[in-house]
């Protein structure tokens, strides 16, 4: 897998082919876990993911 160079992910306009391939390769590996019966892996244990969802509806505003 290529080295990941994005600290933030804003838009796919900034994704190189290698970026896409890194995402797909990993996603494929994670996807395959369900065939082993594994629901959880400790890859991000000890880290905190916070979701900040400010948009209240499906209506997109300009």
């Amino acid at each position: 897998m290529q080295i990941w160079s994005h600290k933030h992910i804003h838009t796919l306009a900034n994704f190189s082919i290698q970026d896409y391939e890194s995402v797909f390769e990993l996603a494929n590996r994670f996807d395959a876990l369900k065939n082993t019966g594994t629901k959880k892996i400790p890859a991000l244990q000890g880290t905190l993911v916070t979701s900040l969802f400010f948009e209240a509806s499906t209506k997109n505003k300009k």
Partner: protein, 285 residues
Amino acid sequence: MKQVQRTKNSFELAAKRLSADVQTFAPSSSSLTKGETIIDTAITYSAMGADTLVIRHSSSYITFEIAKKLDAINSKTSVLNAGDGLHSHPSQGLLDIYTLIKFFSTKTLSPEVLNSKKILIIGDVNHSRVARSNLWALSAFGADIILCGPKTLIPDEFINFLKVPGPNQKEDPVKSRGSITISRSLEESIKIADAIIVLRLQKERMMENLLSSIDSYSSDYGLTPEKLSLNNREIPILHPGPINRDIEISSKVVDEYPNCLINDQVSNGIPIRMALLYLLQKYNK
């Protein structure tokens, strides 16, 4: 289920599958109601120790602003855009293309299967951050995209969408991309399509006088089994959800068409979001 809830749940599930701790910000009960800015809210959660902020907001480009402020204070927190105004929805774009690659690949996952495929996107492209993300992702792998809908929902200028550099971008990181064409005839477009992405019609567009009626839109651009039969193959159908049954897509297509991949998209969203969360932490190490 509202789309915002689906995306939030999907990200939270992805984080939990990786054993991350998950924290959810609730706007209605927060200091936002006391006038705190969105950026201050993000800084607060970064100060609490968030490694990644997954952000959905109605303002386009807001995640750039938040990330800039966080970087300026030397924060290690990463920002992951979960949908900003009309601009971008990276994880949806990725799971859509991943779903198509899985469909077209034979033994191993091969993104090059999309090269020269004609992907038809139907509907309100102008108000869709999902469609914008689809355009960047699909074209990167050489797919040629046909945008189909009325002029009020797909202005002619969209033909040049890929020629305008993205924000904070000096040059396109992809050297050669597939093309964009625009069609006003769904019947003609379906005949040559290799896959279809149907966009949700937002009924507010009628209030904005962009459509004469929902029925007339549905008649011209709604996807039905009869229109699908114009293509002599069972091509894959995607929709970012939530669907408006029998408006942009008929219930018969959703429930009975063998290659309706809407549920696959939802399933694929989890590993794609796991990959994004994992990669952002790899950067931070």
